[in-house]
Symmetry: C2
Subunit: 191 residues, 2 copies
């Protein structure tokens, strides 16, 4: 994997150049086109993925057949079915490429080894996890405390770059509303 890309993946980390090299040797490039499924419900989840370009989403399919988007990922984000990735259980979600993407995958096995060998590696992912945790908590709070319109406004404010890459029905399924409701909200805001 190319050096500039590797530096970008771990730009906030505190690695020596040898450490960086040995980590980079474990990342594998994957190219995806729009519509590709990176992961399906029921799969064993061996990898987490760094998004170098493009856009992906994790979604859950409920009993009624409705999709609920858990996560979007664009440049510089990591994406996986984390619950399955952390526990070893089968995936409950699906990951779909929604805009032609280049990603780099890293296996749980290699991560476990790196956690032991390179303390700074564990620090890097602990901090990533802290940030993801905060974002999720903010989302829970939004779901509890805000009506749909406010959640939509927060969304386009917090993820201006994602908004361009995704369809409105993806946003609706992320916010927990129907496409019709989102359409009406957007109409009202357009005034």
């Amino acid at each position: 994997m190319e050096d500039e890309i590797l530096k970008e993946v771990f730009k906030e980390a505190d690695f020596t150049s040898e450490e960086l090299r040995s980590i980079g040797a474990l990342l594998r490039k994957v190219s995806l086109k729009k519509g590709d499924i990176l992961l399906s419900e029921g799969d064993t989840v061996l990898y987490t993925h760094f998004v170098y370009s493009g856009c992906l989403r994790t979604y859950f399919l409920d009993n009624a057949g409705k999709e609920h988007t858990l996560q979007f990922a664009i440049k510089d984000w990591w994406i996986s079915d984390y619950t399955a990735f952390f526990t070893g259980d089968k995936a409950l979600t699906n990951i779909e490429c929604i805009q032609r993407a280049t990603i780099y995958k890293l296996s749980r096995k290699d991560m476990e080894r790196l956690y032991l060998e390179i303390p700074a590696f564990e620090t890097f992912f602990r901090k990533k996890l802290e940030r993801r945790f905060m974002a999720l908590q903010k989302r829970v709070l939004g779901n509890l405390a805000q009506p749909a319109k406010d959640r939509y406004l927060s969304f386009i404010q917090n993820y201006p770059n994602i908004q361009q890459s995704v369809k409105n029905y993806h946003i609706a399924s992320f916010l927990g509303i129907t496409t019709e409701s989102l359409s009406r909200i957007r109409k009202e805001l357009a005034r």
Copy 2:
């Protein structure tokens, strides 16, 4: 701090007994009675807290004056305003003791030092964080995909021990519904 308690706090961790001792030296016991406020909105959050006994809750107060419970914590759980604790920002939430409690607090400063000195300490909290992350994601999914009744059923199934310690209006504010709605749900389920 007493050795048996210390062992319980870190029972899943892989520490040497010297490591355990030096960590234990940094934990401070705090006793709380029902109604005590451990942390208020606007505070600087210097500590995270291990609950040895009793029950606490983290809640957010919205503009309309409504409470939204983010987290309950009973025996063996850690509790804080994590967003403020991680970032150093002021707390946006409050933490209240809802059942006489004994807790042990650990400062961020000490944690940072331990992260550097004892890699197994970072592993311990990374894994804790992974579990918290999974729980939160499950909650987001529930909010998106389930009606109030199903969320209530999941709650009493997942937290049977907490249910005894908290009032119904605490549960309602956790589920994102009113006490009246919860009352009607319970009535319907009682049949």
